[in-house]
Amino acid sequence: MALQGEQASQRLEDLFKEAGHLSTPGLRDHVVEQLYKKSSELTAAGVTYTKSGHDEHSEKLDRIFTSPVFGFPIMLALLGAVFYLTIAGANVPSAMLADFFSWLEGYIAVGFEKAGSPDWLYGVLVLGFYRGTSWVVSVMLPPMAIFFPVFALLENYGYLPRVAFNMDRLFKVVGAHGKQSLTMAMGFGCNAAAIMSTRIIESPRERMLAILTNNFVPCNGRWGTLIVLASLFMAGSLAGGTQLLAATGVIVGLVLFGIFVTFFVSWLLSKTLLKGVPTHYTLELPPYRKPKVFDVVIRSSINQTLAVLSRAVKIAAPAGVLTWILANVTVGDTSILLHIVQFLDPMGQMLGLDGYILMAFLLGLPANEVVLPILLMGYLSTGAMVDVDGIGGLKQILLDHGWTWVTALNMMLFSLLHYPCGTTMVNIYQETKSVKWTFLSFLIPTVIAIFVTFIVAKAAVFFQLI
């Protein structure tokens, strides 16, 4: 006999009700207890322990990594070390990739000339599309190719849950979950991916906190901006090795500030929109396991590399093309780009920035990677992204447009605090299925970014620091 859909549904409802009457409050406990008893019986029958069966090795390591004395210093040192490795290690390959791309561009240019292509086509394809893509690849790929494997190694080793264990008390104070420290760590790589990773937090309230604040951890796409500006303006006068250290120091400082903002916003939300008692805190501390270094490195490099490359083509390329068009189509006697810049300038000046910078952040909504290149395209008003290797010349361009260290600091702060990128917001919507929370995830950081940069700009003037 064929099953009638609606009828079956009704019968199921009835059955559910009947089960409700039959069930007793203690039933579940009994069921789990009996399952456990069965498990114990099975293990007792099939397993023999010839030693304690405990993992002495992990316990010894935990005595160090979660020690009241060394726990926090080790955490901070590891954070610094990962950043230092990433920044120092990325320099050379970045320059090499940039050289390669500009060398290749020479040939492409010749090709276009030979084919007799019109200027606008060359502009869109090479100055917009090609340079946009190659910038992102040469600036973003090397740090990512270092950060992700190093992070994956720490993860596979089993260190990250210890961070959650050490930090939990702080998260509890602000009403959040210790596992948020793990999703934050993931955010250093990519906020969009980190939003997905918040699923490890089982309680909805704490998970929402983790989602709404993840953005205050600078992702890989913003590192480029932060590193370049930190090296140019915060450590510019220092010599080689010290410069790297100083730049790392500035970045660590920014990251700590981002963490502070995370705590503050979590606390504020816990007191207002997301009131409630913490639920569901359980955290497993798995045994430390020596990772298969080669496997982990290869796998995470390949996966992430492909992700970056496809992202570069999908997002940076259209942004490059759009910027080129905006810069080269004129309305009246100036380009559309300049119209936008002039419109945004008063606001920008108030925040210690300028119209170009705000325009770059707006056009960079799809991906943070393109903010700095778009800014430079704007400054040069050629509509084309500059060559990456001209990093020395880069500072001159910025100085020519009235930059001071405060401008650099505020741009870094704005980058750290502003709204999440398009991909991240799409993921937030996917995970929360709520327009309200997605909008708040945009609004909260933006308000904070505006507020903080405004204060810094005013303070710098007040204390006559510039």
């Binding site: 019968r11 009996q34 498990s39 029958a45 099939g46 023999t48 405990h54 045994p287």
Partner: protein, 245 residues
């Protein structure tokens, strides 16, 4: 064209489940969309003895009682997508808790292979496991492996193959609860069987209903509602239901 067989990989977190998944599939993986929801459950592919397999790495969970989104996801996959084989990966160094999950899976499906992973670790800690006893008591194949050292994997592949061909049949153990609970289960089981007619494991449904699993009811109704692409217990039944709604 050769038919593709489906396998699901279930297990506690930190059991080396992903290592096994990577070992089996190499780089042939993708993150897919499942049942209309975008979730990051990885699927991968491998072949063995001229047979092709799609293997899905379910989220690592401590239980399958739908306490969290991940648990629900893993549960739904096993119950509604009906993989041909479900491999339950256990951490050999903490079998007791891990066995708990294996028993839960066995309540859902009998087509199970139990894999004791991290055997190298267990050896180091002096934990001896007699898999023959466990195999007899569980009624499904139990295989010791170390995905780190790549031992035992051939045996696993072979077992998968023999399970597909029907050379190995399973007789999964049934956890018998206290008398009072059993009475209730049997009463509900009969009625559930009437509704589902073999499409869902009736005893398991009865247990879930007794536990007040509202989410399961919602999920069943969602999949009932004529959404053909999701399928309700296989295509044939979907069209029957689809037509009648």
């Amino acid at each position: 064209m050769i038919e593709q067989h489906t396998i699901a990989l279930a297990g506690n977190p930190n059991t080396g489940k992903s290592t096994l998944f990577n070992l089996l599939t190499g780089l042939k993986q993708h993150t897919g969309n499942w049942a209309g929801k975008t979730v990051d459950m990885k699927a991968g592919y491998f072949s063995h003895k001229d047979r092709k397999y799609e293997i899905v790495d379910l989220p690592g969970t401590y239980s399958l009682y739908s306490n969290s989104a991940d648990e629900e996801l893993a549960r739904n996959y096993i119950i509604f997508e009906k993989p041909e084989i479900t491999i339950v990966v256990l951490d050999a160094t903490s079998l007791e808790r891990n066995m708990n999950l294996a028993l839960q899976v066995l309540e859902m499906t009998g087509r199970v292979i139990v894999v004791m992973n991290l055997m190298d670790e267990a050896d180091k800690r002096g934990i001896l496991i007699n898999e023959k006893i466990l195999m007899r008591r569980l009624g499904v194949p139990v295989i010791k492996i170390s995905s780190r050292n790549r031992t035992g994997v051939d045996m696993l592949l072979d077992t998968i193959d023999r399970m597909i061909t029907g050379e190995i049949s399973t007789e999964p153990v049934t956890v018998v609860y206290d008398e009072e609970t059993e009475k209730k289960i049997i009463l509900l089981e009969e009625k559930a069987e009437n509704i589902f007619q073999g499409r869902l494991p009736a005893r398991w449904v009865a247990l879930r209903l007794l536990d007040g699993d509202q989410r399961l009811i919602e999920e069943i109704e969602k999949r009932f509602a004529g959404r053909l692409e999701d399928g309700f217990a296989g295509r044939a039944s979907v069209s029957t239901i689809g037509r009648s709604v």
